[in-house]
Amino acid sequence: RYVRQLQRLQLLFSPTAADARGARQFVEEVALDFARQHPDVVLYVSPRPGPAPLLLAEYLNGTVREELIASKTSEEIAQLATKLAGQSGLDIIRIRKPFHTDNPSVQGQWHPLTNKPSALTVRGPRLQPQ
């Protein structure tokens, strides 16, 4: 079954700074709907007199991701929040190959002894050319 990997989202913003306007709008309008649509993510809203508005996302495997939301509109913040809600907590690094199989071979991997006549120790009679 699908288990959403996002555990909690902490929205830290300041009630007076100018670049937190999008964050304040988000909290007033969109945050309740977001919380109702994602009942398995705990959303903490904490206004604090800090420097810049931040969106902290904590995942089930322990990784914590911070996103700056200064000077972003509330729709952009909502989009960011849904993007974080769909991610898993794995590190964001370059994926070396876009494909992966657990069963690299279906009929058995080739090794130097496939398709050799049944046993090397058994010698049959030489077939006469007809």
Partner: protein
């Protein structure tokens, strides 16, 4: 995690229930996370702070009963699953598989990735694996009491059986004498005892020889296995034959995760535990 800012226990527990797509009764779930060492440490701390005797005794119940219920239910359910899926596997093999799935490391790994570590109330941090195991089984016990055996069975199946993907039978079940076991199995099915013969060999006189030994019953081949020495190759061939007999090869049908049609199996599990 409860010491860091922004922590609401009730909300976290509700989110936990929603995350697993299960309806829990919240009181049972809260008791499921309470461990006995937590109760002792809390009482000691309150006594140390000098409160009255009434407030010292906490109104919290332990999770030991729920843990036992959960453990016995999951064991019996998993045994039934395996008996249904691999009918030829002997009881010792099934016991080994179930024991591996309910072992401490596996259960604590699953529990950590489901955020149970943040929600347990325990004396030490980070939570030791046996406490995590007990808490996870207590959660399963709470689910059993709140939603019934069918849903709990589906939950156990969804979270434990994918841990078997990619694992070989003999990595989990230690067999000392595969040849003897194979001879027993074949006599049970009234087939004559196997005759080992060398099928292929490469590099006999080098440092890394390779022998392929095939096991023949009534001159028909049942299995073939590679090995460095002749004895190792024979043992490997016996293991391959056992895998084929028990139906646990690499190319078997994957596990069936569709919705169960009868509720009889889960009820049998509850009544037998």
């Amino acid at each position: 995690r409860s010491e860091k800012p922004n922590w609401d226990y009730h909300a976290e527990i509700q989110a936990f229930g929603h995350r697993l797509h299960e309806n829990f009764s919240l009181d049972l779930l809260k008791t499921a996370f309470v461990n006995s060492c937590y109760i002792e440490s809390e009482e000691a701390r309150r006594r140390g702070l000098g409160l009255d005797k009434e407030t010292v005794v906490l109104n919290l119940q332990d999770n030991s009963k729920l843990a036992e219920q959960g453990m016995s239910f999951s064991r019996s359910y998993l045994t039934q699953c395996f008996e249904g899926a691999y009918p030829d596997l002997p009881a010792k093999g099934i016991g080994a598989l179930v024991g591996f799935l309910t072992s401490q490391e596996l259960v604590s790994y699953v529990a950590q990735n489901l955020s149970i570590q943040d929600l347990t109330l325990c004396k030490e941090f980070p939570v030791p694996p046996d406490v995590l195991q007990r808490t996870f089984f207590a959660v399963i016990g709470a689910l059993l009491s709140s939603s019934g055996p069918e849903k709990t069975g589906i939950f156990v199946r969804d979270f434990f059986i994918p841990q078997l993907i990619g694992k070989d039978l003999f990595e989990i079940w230690e067999v000392v004498n595969p040849m003897g076991l194979l001879v027993e199995e074949l006599t049970k099915r009234n087939i004559s005892s196997p005759e080992p013969r060398i099928t292929r060999q490469l590099g006999v006189s080098t440092v890394l020889p390779l022998y392929f030994v095939g096991l023949y019953c009534d001159k028909k081949i049942i299995a073939e296995g590679p090995g460095e020495t002749l004895l190792a190759a024979e043992e490997e061939a016996a293991r391959v034959a056992l895998r084929k007999l028990y139906g646990y090869t690499e190319n078997r049908r994957p596990w069936d995760y569709s919705k169960p049609k009868q509720g009889l199996a889960a009820e049998k599990a509850v009544s037998s535990s």
